[in-house]
Symmetry: D2
Subunit: 402 residues, 4 copies
């Protein structure tokens, strides 16, 4: 086992928050950036330390530790969650292991950050919520990683909805469009296997947009009607254990056991209507998470491919001068921008993880339930379950059960 070394945060004079991360692929790299940077940019009550990273392949995890700046390594997450020098367990693995790791970590007295979707089933998610509630009584916090709440533009949108600038909500329309499966020769990575990923575009992309839509709307979905589809049902097997979105094709094929695309409509509790589309077959759309809210006082629109911008239409203005304005969300009064660059100097994707780390550190220090909580993650899981149920029952409208 590698030993912790003198870490970069040692000189801040603040109490440390020692992070142990499980998984080190795409999400692991992004979370590493978040933990490394948050305390350098924001004034935090605790100083995050990249204490231990865990992965099954000892050589690979050592290389990742060296690359990303983690002081020590583990090859068994069970060892990691028991370490005394870890305060918070950050779970960056595929969804099938979330429940087991998170519950063990909470029972071991750790704070937990768990990547989305919270779990691969409602039952798992319910168990995680129970564990989080028990841990909360012990002062531990648990957060699920819906990082797109922490784009400054979406956080501004939430603030504006809360201020009443959208008014009575009528419509929410959201798409999350990617195109990395258009090529039928793209291999069968773990994201295309139900046993690991739980679902396909639904759990990966749909979870994000369900959470974001409910977060921005400030209310929950009451029911959904859904269609799902798997366009390419057989794909080449990867040669090596795949990680993240890239993989190498190999001889032999296997069945795709998750959805390629999921479309659903729904009703919010207030009666507002919603439409959702998650797909990996939207040729030319790389990361097009787009959301628009229409209310009787205004509208908001956001596109993740232009994440420094928020569109806003103020319906209380005279029609002669009204129009969707492009707010460049880089002003010091915008969420998270107090610590960054001058106006017009935009942020990128990974900053959402810096902001997530910031907010989680503050929640830990303040003993507050962080947003989004495991309960929020469970509720998203219930929506996803209703989507799958509706899709399996001829799209019939399916209420979200609490």
């Amino acid at each position: 086992m590698a030993q912790p070394q003198q870490s970069e945060e040692a000189d801040t004079g603040k109490p440390p928050l020692r992070v142990g991360m499980v998984g080190y692929a795409f999400m692991g790299a992004a979370h590493s950036q978040g933990w490394r940077t948050a305390g350098r940019v924001f004034d935090l009550p605790l100083s995050p330390e990249l204490a231990v990273v865990c992965g099954r392949d000892a050589d690979a995890v050592r290389a990742a530790a060296s690359r990303h700046g983690w002081a020590a390594t583990e090859t068994d997450w069970r060892a990691l969650v028991e370490r005394d020098d870890v305060d918070l367990v950050d779970i960056c693995t595929p969804g099938d292991s979330h429940a087991e790791i998170a519950i063990a970590a909470l029972e071991a007295g750790k704070h937990v950050l768990c990547e989305k979707p919270l779990a691969n089933s409602v039952a798992e998610a319910e168990a995680m919520v129970r564990a989080a509630e028990a841990a909360r009584a012990r002062g531990q916090v648990a957060m699920v990683g819906f990082n797109y709440r922490r784009v400054p533009a979406t956080a501004l949108a939430r603030r504006m909805v809360a201020e009443g600038r959208v008014g009575t909500l009528r419509h929410v329309r959201v798409t999350y469009l990617q195109d990395w499966l258009v090529d039928p020769e793209f291999p069968l990575t773990w994201r295309l296997r139900r046993e690991q990923a739980g679902s396909g575009s639904l759990g990966d992309l749909g979870a994000h947009i369900v959470d974001l839509a409910q977060y921005l709307a400030g209310e929950q979905l009451a029911g959904v009607s859904a269609i799902t589809e798997t366009f390419v049902r057989e794909r080449p097997l990867p040669t090596a254990p795949s990680s993240g979105l890239t993989a190498v094709s190999a001889a032999g094929t296997g069945p795709v056991t998750v959805d390629d695309a999921a479309l659903f409509t729904g009703r919010f509790a207030s009666g507002a209507l919603a439409s959702f589309e998650a797909t990996r077959y939207a040729t030319g759309r790389k990361n097009a998470l787009r959301i628009e809210l229409n209310g009787d006082r205004g509208s908001l629109a956001f596109d993740l491919e232009r994440l420094n911008e928020l569109s806003y239409h103020d319906a209380t203005e005279p029609g002669e001068h009204a129009g969707f304005r492009r707010i460049l969300v880089t002003e010091p009064e915008h969420p998270y921008l107090e610590a960054w660059w001058p106006p017009g100097h935009g942020l990128g994707y990974e900053h959402t993880f810096v902001h997530q780390a910031r907010d989680l550190v503050r929640a830990v220090a303040g003993g507050r339930v962080p947003e989004p909580s495991f309960a929020d993650g469970l509720q998203v899981q219930r929506v996803l379950a209703a989507v799958e149920e509706s899709a399996g029952k001829n799209s019939v409208y399916t209420p979200i059960t609490a």
Copy 2:
């Protein structure tokens, strides 16, 4: 020296096509522009004449005739369809009168252009198709006015799909967003009454996007799953017979008997997925008919608010240089552009009616079935009926029956 002559249509030396138009509000004004202009811009085999316009109020129809340049007036559409000096009847009335007028005109030996939606019910539309087929044997043509097929950009999109530039279709997503009902004090015009309009956003906006989606896809929808909603169920009565989209509010209120918004997902015959949204409550969106098609060779996107542009992503290009390109559809090789202005000098909404007139005149002269035919209009009506059926049955997936 040549002498001044009387009529601008008299001197073309071409046989006339004498048009009798029923209705003279918004659509009547637009059609008048189309008939007046088509022969001035395009080289047509027949010379359209604005012969007779018909409306119930004699003074109002005379004023409209004077304004729009119609040579004569009628106050009873039955008289108009019987006139010997009318070759083609152009129906610009609300949907409840389409079937009766169109069938009478066809039986009277006239060509017919009928505004969309073709009818307020499938049964009416079927009767219209039968009348059109009978008339076709006599050399008459019948067209339904889905004018958005005739934006140069959508016509180019159709051409590109037919050339295989989109490839195997995976997704079609369409919205038609307007916002003129956001104000609950907007009065109860004919468009909000089921007995006249048949339906609300569904027949008005939804008919357009169903037709356009199927036209561009080159295939038909197999089934739909739908939600509809009426957000504001009681509105002030208008003081005077309303026309078009504007009206004056008055004392008293009445029930809105049509949908304010309709959302539906669907499957194309090929297995491609589709999503549709038609609404009059999308605050800040004035005429946002937006359609995107994703296939395995490319994608196309169009926005009616920027109607001189077509977005195209060519997936056969190397990723390094690929991207959605904005084609400014104003080049001489683009559809309908051979007769207009130099590149970059854009067209507007009304040009779709000029193009519609052009194509219909050519179909009349050539004895060809025009596109979109009454059969096309009937098929759209069947989709709308399936949408209403699904919305009434808890959104259950409802096949489109032939």
Copy 3:
């Protein structure tokens, strides 16, 4: 039952305004659309009649008359300006004939509309202004055809500047970018010959942007510093008399005697700075007239390739919600929009000529000096002359002399 009547213009019951047009190429077609449509859309005090069109080639002008709906033809503009049945002479010829025709028409008692640039020299333009002033005493009006003042979005911009929404002006930046000369094989049309066109991109495109910049700013340029360039100095001769922007190449070449591009900076009377660029070599830019004004209270931006939109930044708003808003200039309260289509149904390029006709008819009926007057055209000519002078003197700053 009303009887069909002859001419669409004959039945308006309004006094006619009989137009005689000289030239029938690109501008002639556009003006024809304007005259034909203005009285059909707007409520005008006089009813424009397309009385006589004039061109040197008898067959060609007869064909043009038939196509565009002119009642009679002439082959000598001197005959046209003397006709008793012509009230207004509309000059759509190259710049070298503007002065002679306009002065003769004014002396013959006609109103005059003259395409831009007003003339090919300051001296000619001065003579035209003197003729217009003399004619004004006789109740005649004279207008120069800077049609881009009559895009609803630019007219709205002017209104907003006049209302103080831009405040103290700091910057005006304008480009007019086209690309039809990028191909060195494009032939040597009249627009590339100094003796006919006066100048190249400067008089064609530069005249538009100088006029528009001064119009929107509400003030005049005090001086300029300029660079001009001819990139391709020899081009193939056209086979036939060229018209408009299209032509056929032929054997033999000849020298390009005008500028291909003109760049200049300048100062407004108030001290605001300006930059201008006019070119026919901006590959991919088809008709990109773009103007932006920055003042201490706000900014405005316009792009002719998206002519139904105006961008506006209100600097008096809190920074948190401020941003350039895209005003879709299609609302009934917007300039010229009272008579057109519902919100979101955009207009096109040719509508500027309809609006020009509308405003000119009203000026004629009201006996008012129309905007832009010949004096306005002369002032633009003086700016263009200063540009050429500066370009010839090593770009030295050259004041605009009155």
Copy 4:
């Protein structure tokens, strides 16, 4: 003197590159991010260490060191450049101190990174180039910090120009628009004083766009014609020593001794034309560095406010399908993207400093002259000097002297 501590990079097993940074305001924070992150994301031959940071105020520099993660501090740059544990001196101070620090550091055997503009005068820049050349013989490298060459989209643009995709260059137009001086109450920070900043918008913004234009064009400017202006000549004095772009106003005013805006046109060596505008008064434009290149084979356009995108028009394509395409510069084959996130997950402003650090580390390890070199910085300085000379001589065209 603070002692170096065990630093975050100690565990990479690579030789260190120990950085000593002078200045810790806006640029210092950005450079810190760059040094901290480069080795975590890219595979570098040396491991950057944040060794020493230097500032005049001991308390402030200690706070900055703690915040940004520097192991030690100095209060005198002369001490810093003499330290044995510093390999590279990174100069983030105002321009008036660049020459002195850089020359001393080079003479002390250090590699140097110097923020732009290289110096406040051509003479200083020449001395710096001489020092860099002498140091080069000793294996030292010297780079000037034109970080906007290292946006992936601009780097891709450079690659595409080099591949001939733009062809013979005709036009380059560049603006760098900000608006932070619109408010006349914004205080007189060091950026508004000639003795510290050298010039105003010219050296701050103009230096960037002159460098970027020449870099992308692949050639140098031959001469310029310029206008400069100071709109607000007196401003409130700041209460405290100002840093960066933010400051607090105070009692009393002082004269602004630099330009607020600079506009210039120019000619490239090849005959292509260029226009430049740098201003801090473009209301609503926050960081709008926009550049467009037009050549006979294609065009490129970039906007720093949307820095993950590059627009490209390929003029060799048939006009029917041609258009400016929006390349989302987030693909693995794009410059710098091999190490970042999946497609569509955009980067931000600070990443340019990570890339700068990457490239400089590799130059140091490889003993190569980095781009942009001090010689490149000197050449930009000569352009800026010609701009000021032209502006002082009635805008007369002023050649750039070598």
